[in-house]
């Protein structure tokens, strides 16, 4: 399927099937067939490596934000040595604008469980943890239930489907901290500590949970795996954009008529997602700006969006990124100074404080933006902000500092007039 007929795409992860969250319904609709195939069909899947190769070939780019080829990541695991190895599934979902993994927990938990089991088999892993943000109490309960059901039916546990392969699968959860979505912070949190990201190297594949080889994948990334096994890498690559294939769970929020999560091929034109999928702008307003993939991805002005599609190649040409495909849509009445201040507040609040450029930098970004927002800023403050962003980027343990710096740099550059106008004025009129 080319991107042009995206409207004919049939959803795989969140299809319109009633009660798909129940294990019997999932199995009736072809569920756990992929797991059975890799465990038992030795002609097709000679060994775990053959599974890794197929997934690598499919090029499922990580849906947690960084877009790294999942199969390639799996291939970094060192050879099994008989000791424990872990898969840690990232269900922290805290990047503002992102609300897609919860749809998998709610509507199709077993496709994620099946994907995680396939991943674990492929990497010869013995224990799987899924880490869900603590606020998602409802989804934590749903996942507990789904995993208990899969244990009961023999898809998890000892000697799965008589194959001799055994794995345990546990639900764990956080207690409110955005940083725990960062993979090494998540490992610290899983180990029962404060969520301080670790210095890399060593990478988690070498030293992860309790110093043992560990792979971290996003929930949606893993939910794509069963269809790659069932239909093949070629099918997956035929969906959506060439260098960023497969479907996305687009989470569309902000000033549109029909916000929500939509499963469609990658590479759909941004304007068609807004107008055809999300029903267009609310209250007859005009589009002003789009944040394409969660709060850290650089904002785009409406006039930058012609012909731009939701994939890394296209977004790069206008200086942005796919991120989590959590699209935040803003209308003509949006005050960009207020929006940027609120984003800066978020990153300052969530910085773990280990690195000076991040701890102090995010604080200064917020403070200066508040001053500008209150009409007390000067134009030279804008240059100070831009200077600060270059001081923060690439100088810290994890990417939170970069995630905080990008929106500041690009929002100011792309809406400079609005920021300058606010600087000169003394009174702030609240919209």
């Amino acid at each position: 399927m080319s991107t042009a007929d995206w409207k004919n795409y049939e959803p795989v992860i969140i299809p319109d099937i009633k009660d798909l969250d129940k294990i019997d319904v999932y199995v009736k609709n072809g569920g756990y067939k992929a797991l059975e195939s890799i465990l038992k069909d030795k002609k097709k899947w000679a060994d775990p490596k053959s599974v890794i190769n197929e997934v690598k070939e499919a090029n499922i780019r990580g849906r947690g934000g960084a877009g790294f080829n999942a199969g390639l990541k799996w291939s970094f695991m060192p050879p099994a040595d008989g000791g424990p190895r872990y898969l840690a599934c990232n269900g922290d979902e805290s990047e503002p604008g992102t609300f897609k993994d919860r749809k998998i927990f709610e509507y199709n938990p077993h496709i994620f469980i099946e994907g995680a089991l396939i991943a674990a088999y492929a990497m010869e892993i013995t224990t799987i943890y899924v880490y869900i943000r603590g606020e998602y109490k409802a989804y934590i309960d749903m996942m507990e239930k789904a995993i208990a059901d899969a244990y009961e039916k023999g898809y998890i546990g000892k000697n799965i489907l008589g194959s001799g392969y055994s794995v345990d699968f546990y639900v764990t959860y956080g207690a409110g901290a955005y940083i725990c979505g960062e993979e090494t912070s998540m490992l610290e949190s899983l180990e029962g500590k404060r969520g301080y990201p670790r210095v890399k190297p060593p990478f988690p594949a070498q030293k992860g949970l309790w110093g043992r080889p560990t792979t971290i994948n996003n929930i949606e990334t893993l939910a794509h795996v069963p269809s790659v096994i069932n239909r093949g890498a070629e099918w997956f690559k035929s969906v959506g954009a060439e260098n960023h294939p497969g479907a996305f769970l687009y989470g569309i929020s902000g000033h549109v008529k029909r916000p929500g999560v939509y499963e469609l091929p990658s590479g759909v034109p941004v304007l068609e997602l807004i107008n055809d999928v999300a029903g267009g702008m609310r209250n007859g307003k005009k589009l002003k700006a789009v944040i394409p993939g969660g709060s850290s991805t650089p904002v785009l002005r409406a006039d930058q969006l012609d012909e731009i599609t939701m994939d890394s190649d296209s977004l790069r040409t206008v200086g942005s990124m796919v991120g989590t495909a959590g699209m935040v849509i803003m209308d003509e009445d949006t005050d960009m100074v207020d929006v940027l201040w609120r984003i800066a507040h978020f990153y300052h609040h969530e910085s773990c404080g280990q690195c000076t450029p991040c701890r102090e930098g995010t604080g200064w970004l917020e403070k200066i933006l508040l001053k500008i927002k209150n009409g007390e800023g000067e134009v030279k403050d804008l240059d100070l902000l831009l200077d600060l962003t270059t001081q923060m980027e690439g100088r810290t343990i994890c990417a939170l500092a970069d995630a905080a710096a990008w929106p500041v740099r690009y929002t100011i550059n792309r809406f400079r007039d609005e920021f300058e106008a606010r600087c000169k004025k003394k009174v702030h009129v609240i919209a």
């Binding site: 409207k7 959803p11 969140i14 319109d16 424990p84 979902e93 805290s94 990047e95 503002p96 604008g97 992102t98 609300f99 919860r102 709610e106 509507y107 943000r133 603590g134 606020e135 998602y136 109490k137 409802a138 546990y170 764990t172 959860y173 956080g174 207690a175 409110g176 901290a177 955005y178 949190s189 899983l190 180990e191 029962g192 500590k193 404060r194 969520g195 309790w210 989470g251 569309i252 929020s253 902000g254 000033h255 029909r258 916000p259 929500g260 999560v261 939509y262 999928v277 029903g279 709060s295 959590g326 935040v328 803003m330 949006t334 207020d338 929006v339 609120r342 978020f346 609040h349 969530e350």
Partner: protein, 176 residues
């Protein structure tokens, strides 16, 4: 006051410990068990958690203070966490927060005199498409807020009626 876990709590704690190869990973989940039992994890409760798991008190304290969902002091009977982050800001999250401040007669961060409600503003709760929204005491999400819906929520809570889980249907494909 001396805090003690019940027999059921201790059973649950044993189950939690069985998930991990070490004891330390039980810190977060056992703090949750404690908060469920006592309504908060003030320092005396942290001590109990440390003692129960045979971990240093300083470790448990460090964890309890890192994560925002643990209540380090007593809160109102209901904690209203209003999201004012990016998408909620765009869709009127601050209006809802200010409406609640007026209605409850308190500033954000405080508890009403009768001990019923604590009002907070929080960061993105992963419900951006259903903004503005709030979460009640670390549990149910209440989405698509309007002043009327807030009024009803407060009335219900005062009567001890907690909100139901709001299932949000998938957007239908035929709309496209």
């Amino acid at each position: 006051m001396a805090y003690e876990f019940t027999k059921e709590d201790l059973k649950e704690i044993e189950k939690i410990k069985a998930k991990f190869p070490e004891v330390m990973p039980a810190t977060l989940p056992v703090l949750w068990v404690a908060q469920k039992r006592f309504g908060h994890v003030e320092p005396e409760v942290q001590k109990l958690v440390a003692k129960t798991l045979d971990l240093p008190e300083a470790h448990v304290h460090g964890v309890a203070t890192f994560y925002t969902q643990y209540y380090k002091e007593e809160k109102g009977k209901f904690v209203l966490d209003v999201c004012t982050c990016l998408s909620c800001q765009l869709c009127g999250g601050y209006d809802i927060l200010h409406y609640l401040e007026k209605k409850l007669g308190i500033k954000t961060g405080n508890t009403t005199e009768d001990g019923m409600f604590t009002l907070n503003q929080v960061e993105c709760l992963g419900a951006c498409g259903y903004a503005p929204m709030l979460q009640v005491t670390n549990d149910k999400y209440v989405n698509h807020l309007t002043p009327e819906k807030v009024d009803k929520l407060l009335d219900d809570l005062k009567e001890g009626k907690e909100p139901e889980y709001e299932k949000i249907g998938m957007p239908r494909r035929k709309n496209i």
